[in-house]
Symmetry: C2
Subunit: 151 residues, 2 copies
């Protein structure tokens, strides 16, 4: 398999990274481990919260986004890792049975000034449920260059 | 227990949110579920990566940060949930046996223009291992006001 390199990415490209249907057990298990706020653990508490029902931790939405991004793009690339997230917005509650789908939009690409063998590709993840966008995450993985030092 | 409300927070405050020692099994289990990049799954692959050894997914560092923040502050507050993360920086690799400690710094506080019963408190999480800072996360939970509509 030919790995995607820095040079393969252009602003405006969109990668379909597939989907994952989230279950109630997944929501509660993640919340018990990492975000034990009542609205992530219990339906009644969720109903009393701004979320309007049991809903996933925003950090779980990010983690599922990472899994889709990994399977759909990063594991097929000369990825060197990531160092920062510029923004993460949780726009709508994610509820049991929601099918989360991720599109990765290329925002911009920049070569590294200090390392001729890598470049930075900034992506915006747009995560959707069945009917609307639920989250946006902007982050910049480091990608290997096919032609180190090239223009 | 008296819950912390919006009025209790002031820029410059620092809340010690405790610590969690991360194990190799935790790192590999999280990576299998959410971030199956080789450097998060395997010591040899980690050695060959920029991380210099098996190291945790940055998203796991955030999730552990959320757990410490929840136990140390949010579950003791009139929290209404969060809606955005302004920045997340992963500064150093997190390795098996690292003891992650979180300080939550209050950056700024703002009342809501549209809802007199809540306000926004922006925190910077500073996450440390035994010797240095490994991550920084800036985020803004929504906190209930003790005196809705007050000055």
């Amino acid at each position: 398999m030919t790995l995607l390199h820095f040079e393969d990415f252009r602003a405006g490209q969109v990668y379909d990274c597939g989907a994952h249907e989230i279950t109630k057990d997944e929501i509660v298990d993640f919340a018990r481990a990492f975000d034990p706020q009542p609205q992530h653990l219990d339906e009644d508490a969720g109903q009393r919260s701004l979320l309007g029902g049991l809903a996933a931790s925003g950090w779980q939405v990010c983690a599922i986004g990472m899994r889709l991004f990994a399977d759909g793009l990063i594991l097929k690339s000369a990825n060197k890792g990531g160092s920062r997230v510029q923004e993460c917005r949780w726009m709508k509650p994610v509820k049991p049975g929601d099918r989360l789908r991720l599109d990765a939009h290329v925002v911009e690409t920049n070569i590294s000034r200090s390392r001729p063998d890598v470049g930075f590709v900034t992506f915006e993840w747009r995560i959707y449920n069945q009917v609307e966008q639920v989250a946006s995450v902007i982050l910049t993985p480091i990608l290997g260059r096919r032609e180190p030092g090239g223009a």
